[in-house]
């Protein structure tokens, strides 16, 4: 037998072996699949704190502002600089690059619409509160809310006033300094501290409205069906057959079984929208990061939260904030459970881009290393090399780039 014949025979044996691993799904497994399907997603959850959340005019203004580079100290950074539409609304670097290099991995946007908590540590309780953070972060837009109000007045006055009423006259530089914010550089902080409380409130209100238009735009971003959605439709009789390769199907079985991935990566967004310490290492050179432990405290203190003066939620609708856990040591280094939709295109992974590839991610979960601080929830999975490869093959079926957007 020549070498090529031997090779072909071996390949055939491997193929047969793999084929044999194609699972026949039980009713329970099919039920789990249905919970993962985009068909169960529905429209974005209502946001009572944002009265323009579903206003098309607000979404149109938000769309323009999302790509507005004037909203940065160097005139070159917009939301879209890191949340790149062509890249699943994220970038391809370990930590975001704004005016300088940030400390956390850029998160995707369309998936965030379905989460009650924003940022890796959940320090914002709405999309609009989230949008306000990066703009004043010295490493990201390095801008100030006063400057945002000026850009709105000079470039977007008509659209803004149609939604929120007249913008004030900001021409008096003594009342309204050029650059002022409660955080950021010393000059901006001093200028903010020197303003009258009523004027600060006026600027805060404009800043909150700015965030609400960004949120309205983000709520229009489609969550796209993946090969998994088509596969589930096929195997549950809701659509034409859309087979998985044997390795992909084996990976799906591991995802809901031995791999325990579905414990947290559940529901149509493949995330329980919670926070977990998974023992991810600290990234060298970055400040210590306590994750949700700090994020919960910040959310309570945030003047732009659901119960704050700039929220439109009156008489309830802030349950997540109302019953927020604060001060639980089990929150130390717990970070957001991200959606896995489109995950294959979002390397590197984890909250600071610590892991370069899906293979490294699966290897991390398989080994379940101890957490650098706090306590990891993971336990070793004892996956074989083939099983790890099958899980990666399955994760690649979650690519959301193909096909039309999910109807909103």
């Amino acid at each position: 037998m020549t070498w090529w014949k031997l090779g072909a025979a071996l390949a055939a044996l491997v193929a047969i072996g793999t084929q044999d691993r194609t699972p026949i799904w039980s009713p329970d497994e099919l039920e789990v699949f249905r919970t993962l399907s985009i068909d169960g997603l529905g429209p974005p959850p209502a946001d009572p704190s944002n009265r323009v959340a579903d206003d098309p005019a607000a979404a149109a203004l938000g769309r323009a502002l999302f790509s507005e580079a004037r909203l940065s100290s160097n005139g070159r950074i917009s939301c879209a600089s890191c949340h790149r539409p062509e890249n699943g609304f994220t970038d391809a670097v370990p930590t975001g690059h704004g005016v300088a290099t940030g400390t956390r991995r850029t998160m995707p946007v369309a998936q965030a619409v379905y989460s009650p908590w924003q940022f890796w540590d959940g320090r914002a309780d709405s999309l609009w509160a989230q949008a306000l953070g990066p703009v004043e972060n010295p490493l990201e837009h390095n801008f100030t809310r006063m400057e945002v109000a000026r850009v709105l007045g000079t470039r977007y006055r008509g659209q803004y006033e149609q939604l929120f009423g007249p913008l004030p006259d900001l021409s008096d530089a003594r009342r309204f300094p050029r650059r002022a914010a409660p955080a950021g550089d010393k000059h901006a902080r001093n200028a903010w501290a020197g303003m009258a409380a009523a004027d600060r409130h006026t600027i805060d209100r404009i800043y909150a409205n700015f965030g609400k238009t960004i949120a309205a735009f983000e709520r229009t971003l489609p969550v796209r069906p993946t090969r998994l959605d088509r596969y589930v439709a096929g195997v549950t009789g809701k659509g034409p057959p859309a087979p998985f390769a044997p390795a992909e199907a084996a990976g799906l079985k591991l995802f809901i079984g031995k791999g325990r991935c579905v414990s947290c990566h559940s529901g149509p967004m493949l995330s329980n929208q919670g926070f977990a310490n998974t023992g991810v290492s600290e990234r060298g050179g970055l400040p210590a990061d306590s994750g949700r432990a700090d994020g919960a405290r910040k959310a309570i203190a945030d003047p732009f939260n659901c119960k704050g003066a700039f929220s439109d939620a009156k008489g309830g609708g802030c349950d997540e904030l109302e019953y927020l856990v604060v001060g639980d040591p089990r929150q130390v280094r717990a970070f957001k459970v991200p959606s896995l939709r489109g995950v294959a295109r979002r390397a590197p992974y984890m909250h600071s881009g610590q892991l370069r590839s899906l293979e490294q991610v699966i290897d991390h979960y398989n080994r379940a290393p101890a957490a650098p601080r706090g306590t990891s929830e993971l336990k070793p999975l004892h996956l074989t090399r083939r099983e790890r490869a099958e899980l990666v093959a399955f994760l690649r079926t979650l690519d959301d780039a193909e096909g039309a957007g999910h109807a909103r």
Binding site: G274, L324, A370, S376
Partner: protein
Amino acid sequence: MIGFPTPAAYRSRPLRRSCLVSAILIPALAGAAACARPANLDLSLDRPTDHLLFRVQVASGSQPIPLSKVHQWSLHLAAADGRPVTGAAVGIDGGMPEHGHGLPTAPRAEPAGTPGDYVIKGMKFSMTGWWVLKLDVAAPDGRHDKITFNLVL
């Protein structure tokens, strides 16, 4: 979805001992402060408290119990003789023993307006699996007792 009660009771104190023993004997688990689910979990939601001072009945206001959504539960508190206990302070804790994390929210119990009835607001479960719901009951007359319910979502 909550399963049916099992005949063998599995109360809160044996539960804690089981976790502790696991953590000591199995170093891999000690770091995770986690313990495995016992085979005979008592899933009853209507039981006497640890020292038999009260009887507590709890029920989710939404069925099946929703995942990743804040919702309410009802609680009925009675003395051992069956008389309703009104005006008690009910502390709420819990979590997933197998994962070493607590409840994702901090629920609170409030009087519901009828004798012995309370509403627990802010309940949320973020994962499927075994959860414990720990109640710390302090009656107006100073009597105090605890109970741990098991839920499997």
